[in-house]
Symmetry: C2
Subunit: 129 residues, 2 copies
């Protein structure tokens, strides 16, 4: 019980640290949880586009695409600018550092767990049972 309590405080400390460092990470993960929004980012990687340009390949309404772009804008992934009667979309300045760091940390953690498991197997190899 005591150990679980300590582990809990550790989790909360890391969590608070992550929140302070990366206040956008929740919104970023949520923004990336949709295939249309990920495809929009890939499209904008090849150059800026209007809402109509973005909507066309998906046969999507302008209203529907505007909503997706708004989610990406709120996550800091896309910047938009009104140019005459159209809205020009470009990739925002964020490089997904926070997401990449979290995913790397998680994968390292899994590797360490696998290493520990391997070491345990190695140790028990000589065990007569």
């Amino acid at each position: 019980m005591r150990r679980a309590g300590c582990a809990g405080r550790d989790v909360v400390a890391r969590l608070l640290n992550l929140l302070v460092q990366h206040p956008h990470i929740d919104r970023t993960f949520a923004a990336l949880a949709d295939p249309t929004r990920r495809a929009v980012l890939e499209r904008l990687g090849r150059g800026s586009a209007t809402i109509s340009d973005l909507a066309e390949p998906f046969a999507m309404s302008l209203t529907g695409m505007k909503k997706h772009v708004r989610v990406l804008e709120d996550a800091g992934l896309v910047s938009t600018e009104k140019v005459g009667r159209t809205r020009r979309c470009t990739l925002g300045p964020r490089r997904l550092e926070d997401v990449a760091a979290w995913v790397d940390m998680y994968r390292r953690m899994l590797d360490e767990r696998l290493d520990r498991f391997g070491q345990m197997l190695e140790r028990t190899k000589g065990d007569p049972r």
Copy 2:
């Protein structure tokens, strides 16, 4: 207009490819969009735990934690097993390969865009205007 159409087909092809390769990626990004769920994964990286163990550090109800664990389970990130009257949670087998691959692809794309921008600046340097 013609170019936008071609770019659109390219986007759709890449999107379909990604969906076929990684059917879980939407659910994974959505599961990771919550700080409690990310902290649960970090906690499980240090060993299996019951729902009560997981709920305790967050002062969360068992029902609330069960919901979070279910979302992680649906995304394949956590496995659970009923042991007597408790439910034992462990990390699932998924290593976030799909998420890591997408994030890497996106970051490479941003770097290429920056390189192109740098080359453009370099070319215009000698420009008398």
